[in-house]
């Protein structure tokens, strides 16, 4: 395969509307970096993109095994898209395990770029192959391009002085270079990123760049394919864009909320997958008045955030399902003390430790009902990676205005997935009003604003307003401990009414499609993309289908019941066993049906189309 330099062949450029590629290799092979660099190049080239990293919980699972396969899927298109694609058109497989784990997902006739250097006898055996699939004809239904990436990388770095291990670790750059060539993407961005990533180790940066260019040149010179591909730019709304993941957007949203409110942000957190990146990101922003505190446990993390809120700061805690379970008692303290607090739950597969790196939407009932007593808390769900920014800003606004903890639901899918995000100008962002009471005249700790029913926020240090709050039931005005039965009922009902009033500020719900009709698909959270794409496909096929995506899960919007009643059928797709459906059925007596999946993976558009069609029969 190593050929003499040949004259550059003339190649046909084939134009495509959308392509889905999955990069797959050992979890130490650098597939996440390869995938995200490729996605960045595509986004900068003007495509709409969506990405889906999928990796094992083990940091370095045994090399060559199926359990150790790490994948990164990206869809890029010349039109707006909503998901990272169902089945890949192209699979880049760095070893036999990567091929075996992903082959079933590849489209029939799809392209396989296989690193033959990874297909050693030992690796074939580890992946459970009796014979080499690249040679035994079992891949005849696909187009296979065998490339000895391992050896070509070694050749490119011959005499570089790098260790065999360092050379082996560069082979992902060969794959990246080859793919950038195949889709006619420039190399400059990846080169610049390598230089800044290995800024202290120029020899590694140089080696990676060399391999990247070798991969690109190899595509150019070796006659692997008769053509290359072009996916023209998409027509996105005008503006300046960047790629953003959900966790990045949450972190940026918190920094923005601090600036817009003039408060110091305090994040109390404890490491947990898939939420830790928010802590990592925010810990870098000390010059923005953001304090991060890696606590001794989940409970201390939220407790410290409550302490910060009591002190008049923006208290935030981030976690995932198991950590939220531990925090529930403390959330209730904030409910009772009526202090603003934002609790972010980046959901993952449960119960218990469950599937830490996989996605699920099964914490809805936990955050709504998982606490003792009558404990109403506003709950918001983010819909896409970029939407996490807006959602956390809104959560902060509600928390401060209503003096309550607010829960934000994200999940592993949008936490790690990326999309192009139109960067807002800080001046377009609405200020967050904060007023601390300073007037001692007539002060009573639990006297309420007649409109929001919020009690006043008082910073300790304010003379004349010394008072005590706490988790024991309090007299409805003075805040003194009270066991009076009537007072307790009044307080329980008042706290409920306060949260219910949050819904008064929602904008009217927007139904996509006809405002009434045969079928309404109701979703929440990260299923937004898949449902949107599926509903569009169904309409293209001539079906009367509408889509309503709920951002506010508590309190529910006041116009929801009326909208549900306008449709003959209501179907609720969820990545759980029917949690929102249960609520809609009990609250509105609507005979909602479910489409439910709990495989640790997002919905595919095709499967939603198929299952929704059953409801249209």
């Amino acid at each position: 395969m190593e050929s003499q330099p040949v004259p550059q062949p003339e190649r046909r450029i084939e134009r495509l509307d959308a392509v889905t590629i999955r990069f797959a290799g050992d979890s130490g092979d650098g597939m996440q970096l390869t995938g995200s660099e490729f996605s960045k190049a595509s986004a900068i080239a003007g495509n709409d993109i969506r990405t889906f990293p999928d990796f094992p919980a083990e940091i370095r699972a045994p090399a060559g095994t199926i359990a150790g396969v790490s994948g990164f899927q990206v869809q890029f298109a010349s039109h707006p898209i909503y998901t990272p694609g169902d089945r890949p058109d192209v699979l880049v497989a760095m070893n036999p395990a990567a091929l075996k784990a992903n082959l079933a997902d590849l489209k029939p006739g799809g392209l396989i770029i296989a690193n033959t250097g990874g297909f050693s006898d030992a690796n074939l055996k580890k992946a459970g192959y009796d014979s080499n699939p690249l040679e035994d004809g079992s891949l005849s239904g696909y187009r296979v391009i065998p490339v000895d990436i391992t050896r070509l990388t070694e050749n490119a770095l011959h005499g570089s002085g790098l260790s065999a291990r360092e050379i082996a670790r560069s082979k992902n750059m060969f794959a990246l270079g080859l793919m950038l060539w195949l889709y006619q993407r420039p190399l400059e961005k990846a080169v610049a990123d390598l230089r800044s990533k290995f800024v202290g180790r120029p020899e590694i940066a140089e080696a990676n760049e060399k391999v990247l260019r070798a991969g690109h040149a190899y595509g150019e010179t070796a006659e692997l394919l008769p053509n290359v591909y072009e996916v023209p730019p998409a027509k996105l709304a005008p503006g300046t864009y960047r790629n953003i993941s959900g966790n990045q957007a949450l972190a940026l949203g918190i920094v923005a909320a601090a600036q817009l409110s003039g408060l110091k942000a305090f994040l109390g957190s404890y490491p947990i997958t898939p939420a830790s990146d928010i802590l990592h990101e925010l810990s870098r922003y000390k010059n923005f008045g953001v304090t991060t505190f890696q606590a001794e446990d989940e409970i201390a993390a939220i407790s410290a955030a409550i302490g910060a809120a009591f002190g008049g700061n923006l208290g935030i805690t981030t976690s995932s399902g198991p950590g939220i379970a531990l925090k529930q008692e403390a959330i209730n303290l904030a409910v009772m003390a009526e202090l603003p607090l934002v609790v972010i739950d980046v959901q993952r597969g449960g119960p218990s430790t469950g599937l830490p790196t996989k996605t699920e939407q099964a914490d809805l009932l936990q955050v709504l009902f998982g606490r003792n007593g009558e404990s109403p808390v506003p709950v918001l769900a983010a819909q896409t990676p970029g939407d996490c920014f807006r959602t956390v800003l809104e959560a902060v606004r509600i928390a401060i205005r209503y003096m309550t903890p607010v829960i934000v639901l994200s999940d592993g899918y949008i936490a790690n997935g990326q999309e192009p995000w139109r960067i807002p100008e800080p001046s377009e962002l609405e200020r967050i009003q904060v007023s601390f009471r300073t007037d001692p005249e007539g002060f009573q700790p639990y006297a309420r604003d007649p409109e929001t029913l919020a009690r006043a926020w008082v910073r300790p240090g304010t003379p004349g307003l010394e008072h005590r709050i706490g988790g024991l039931e309090k007299h409805h005005l003075t805040g003194a401990v009270s066991y009076d039965p009537k007072n307790h009922e009044l307080m329980v009902r008042t706290r409920a009414e306060k949260i219910e009033r949050v819904a008064r500020e929602y904008p009217p719900l927007e139904v996509s499609g006809s405002p009434s009709g045969k079928l309404l698909v109701v979703g929440w959270g990260s299923t937004y993309g898949a449902i949107t794409a599926a509903v569009r496909e169904l309409r293209r096929r001539g079906h009367d289908v509408s889509h309503l995506h709920l951002r506010y899960l508590n309190p529910l919007p006041h116009d929801l019941g009326e909208i549900l009643s306008r449709f003959e059928r209501v179907v609720v797709p969820e990545l759980n066993l029917g949690q929102l459906r249960t609520i809609l059925r009990s609250r509105y007596l609507v005979d909602a049906k479910g489409i439910n999946k709990v495989q640790g993976r997002p919905f595919q558009v095709a499967e939603l189309v198929e299952r929704l069609e059953e409801h249209l029969a």
Binding site: G239, Y241, Q259, F288, F293, S303, A304, G307, F310, E466
Partner: protein, 337 residues
């Protein structure tokens, strides 16, 4: 006392209109009185003082202090106080917790607040029993303790807050007794002055569920024999100076002092700044030894909120004040016309 005149507060200013609801005869009354006595002397405006408590009898404390106060949840007071102090270093933050609160459900938070040296003034009321839940044995109850949940006697080895605190490298560790008002007030003043985490174990009598737990230390007939008052730079004498503590290697021993006994010069001179092994050896003294009260250890080490502030200052100096527009844009952008 100079500051008192400036602020002009009295004990009454720290009392609230709330009826104090501990059982009559509870040691908590004496502690409350001592705290209210000392507060006006500290020269700190009332609004800059916060009392944070967990759950248990002792945790009612904030309701009776006319300062800012937060009665929180079981075991978590040190964690909540950490978040407050770290964001509001201008406040003086006191934490009131019991032996179950601090050493059972909240053991984790107790040790981490101390090892971080968060500037909290932690009052640990130790009555060796669960009072509010009506009489179960606690983590400090003695081995063999018969209580509601241990009718045949506890088989748990008790835990000692002083030794736990020393093991965390706490910068101020002390012990006092509810009814020893003068000593207790001295300790409170020392805590108030200390920069960094300060923990004071207060031996407190629960006259309903564990009456007399500390009787040997408070009873007029026996206290001289059983109390060993630690004073910096002074020899460890007790029993009205007739006995003392001498070190044999790292092993303390009780010796008679004076005629026919040891010379005072042989008696260990107490040093609060000594390596913690010495304080640990004293805290570890068991039956046959007196119980030390006073300051086991007081050292200076970096204070948590100051480290935090300094790091933020350095980062800001290096990177400049945060620019939101730049941050939102990140490194890689492209423009769609």
């Amino acid at each position: 006392m100079k500051a008192t005149a400036v602020v002009g507060l009295t004990r009454k200013d720290f009392q609230t209109d709330q009826e104090v609801r501990w059982c009559p005869g509870c040691g908590d009354y004496a502690i409350l009185a001592s705290v209210q006595k000392v507060m006006p002397e500290l020269g700190i405006p009332r609004e800059n003082i916060v009392f944070i408590s967990g759950i248990g009898c002792s945790s009612r404390f904030p309701y009776y202090m006319n300062t800012y106060g937060f009665h929180t949840i079981h075991g978590r007071a040190p964690a909540i106080a950490t978040g407050l102090k770290n964001t509001r270093p201008d406040l003086q933050v006191w934490v009131v917790i019991g032996d179950g609160d601090a050493l059972a459900i909240g053991g984790n938070h107790f040790i981490h607040a101390l090892r971080r040296n968060v500037e909290l003034k932690i009052l640990l009321f130790n009555n060796r029993i669960y009072g509010l839940t009506k009489g179960q044995y606690s983590p400090t109850s003695e081995f063999g303790k018969k209580a509601k949940s241990t009718p045949y006697g506890s088989i748990d080895e008790p835990i000692d807050p002083i030794r736990i605190a020393l093991a965390t490298n706490a910068s101020f560790v002390a012990r006092s007794i509810d009814v020893e008002a003068k000593h207790l007030q001295d300790m409170l003043r020392r805590m108030a002055e200390h920069r960094g985490a300060a923990v004071l174990e207060i031996l407190q009598n629960c006259n309903v569920f564990n009456d007399g737990a500390w009787d040997h230390l408070t009873n007029k007939e026996t206290k001289a024999e059983n109390q060993l008052v630690l004073e910096h730079d002074k020899p460890l004498l007790f029993a009205n100076g007739k006995k003392g503590i001498r070190l044999r290697g790292l092993q303390p021993e009780v010796v008679e002092v004076g005629e026919g006994g040891a010379d005072v010069s042989e008696i260990l001179v107490w040093d609060e700044k000594a390596p913690p092994a010495l304080a640990f050896a004293l805290a570890n003294m068991g039956p046959g030894f007196p119980t030390p009260i006073g300051v086991f250890r007081q050292v200076e080490r970096p204070v948590y909120h100051e480290l935090e502030e300094e790091q933020a200052r350095q980062v800001t100096e290096r990177l400049g004040p945060g620019d939101l527009a730049k941050l939102l844009a990140g490194r890689d952008t492209w423009t769609v016309e």
